[in-house]
Symmetry: C2
Subunit: 239 residues, 2 copies
């Protein structure tokens, strides 16, 4: 079911509390990439920072460990840059903005083609949302209107990054994350994997492994959510 | 700037902690409606409940106080029902679903026309989002894809309902509400009014009054957010 060429690192969050950018997951990233050249996609612009600023953050985090990072925005022909990429990292920020920009630049198919040839794709937060079927389970604010909610569709389910358990002491009446995902399932059939901060999926050889210390929460329509431990996920978990 | 015929009650939340549905704001609603017939729009389906179930909640909350409530979904011709409405209440739930349904049924213009003739419009949460320019500052999950993010545009700004201050003790790395609204302002010019739970706007005679005990938080592009107290809002606050 998972394309055997896909090599994906689907990260819930770039940063965990008390750590620097990508610090907690650096060893995993270096082990995953198996190349020293990384093409960074800065389009999600967290807090609205510029492409250059955002790319510099990645350079600072990974260059000291032998990874040469370039921003996709610095190429005259971004489609060509994707086709020639040795590895791609799509950073977090606003998922709507990220997807809209990729559609506008006509890069969706280029990324799909490159990744299907075995080029590693690493996504964090918004970049992880894109690995699923749609962005319908993003937590982000719809600050811009993309031409579609369809994502890169490497995985036959949706991701909910930064998955957050209900705060049982809260007096706030906004919806909990689980309520929102249950609403999603009134109109959509696909499984949703709630990835807590500090968790990630590593996809290789047609299998999906949940990594990190925490369990992930699996949501399917008309079923109670279940928790799965780290390790290889059986197909029955996510189909 | 505000159409002198508009009569709007723009409520952050239908329910505050420890209270029944619409209980805390019932006196205000009865004072505002000035009619005993209310057309309820149940399309936002909180937690995916059915139109009938949702309408029954409103009946239970308001019928004992002399308000006859009917669900828009029970009319063969919903456009006609809106044109003939004495007052309209658009309930909370999922803003994307609500807006998509209104577009699909071709009801956006009908509601605009009816409200411009002085028919009272009451909205809660998602229903309040619709009174602004766009749904770009909703907190909801994009569970369905509407044909546009443009809302009813009664007010020359956007609403952020259930406005939530940052939790300074949180270790979660997802964006705070303020960060999200600041991201919105990288791509949008309109003021955003963050309405805390227990606050509402009452719009009449071309003026906007902030009501409830709490301050509201006002966001404009390239400016620090400010807090405003309850009372009539000067145009300079929201333009």
């Amino acid at each position: 079911m998972i394309h055997p060429n896909y090599r994906l690192l689907v990260i819930s969050t770039s940063t965990i509390y008390g750590n620097g950018y990508l610090e907690y997951i650096r060893e995993e990233i270096l082990d995953f990439l198996q190349t020293d050249e990384l093409l960074f996609v800065p389009f999600a612009r967290p807090s609205g920072i510029s492409y250059d600023e955002y790319t510099n953050n990645v350079v600072t985090a990974l260059q000291p460990f032998g990874i040469k990072v370039t921003g996709l925005h610095t190429y005259e022909n971004p489609k060509e840059a994707i086709c020639n990429a040795k590895a791609i990292f799509v950073g977090g920020g606003n998922t709507f903005l990220l997807l809209k920009t990729l559609y506008e630049l006509g890069l969706i198919e280029a990324i799909r083609n490159t990744i299907s040839e075995g080029v590693p794709y690493m996504g964090s937060s918004a970049g992880s949302n894109l690995t699923g079927l749609t962005i319908g389970t993003t937590n982000d604010m719809p600050i811009v209107y993309p031409p579609s909610f369809d994502a890169l569709q490497f995985l036959p389910f949706n991701i909910n990054p930064h998955y957050l358990d209900p705060d049982l002491n809260s007096t706030h009446k906004g919806e909990t994350r689980e309520t929102r995902i249950n609403e999603f399932h009134k109109f959509n059939r696909q499984t949703v994997i709630g990835l807590r901060e500090g968790s990630w999926l590593r996809v290789e050889n047609g299998t999906i492994e949940l990594k990190g210390d925490l369990t992930a929460r699996i949501f399917k329509p008309n079923q109670s959510a279940i928790e799965v431990k780290s390790g290889i996920l059986e197909e029955s978990i996510y189909l």
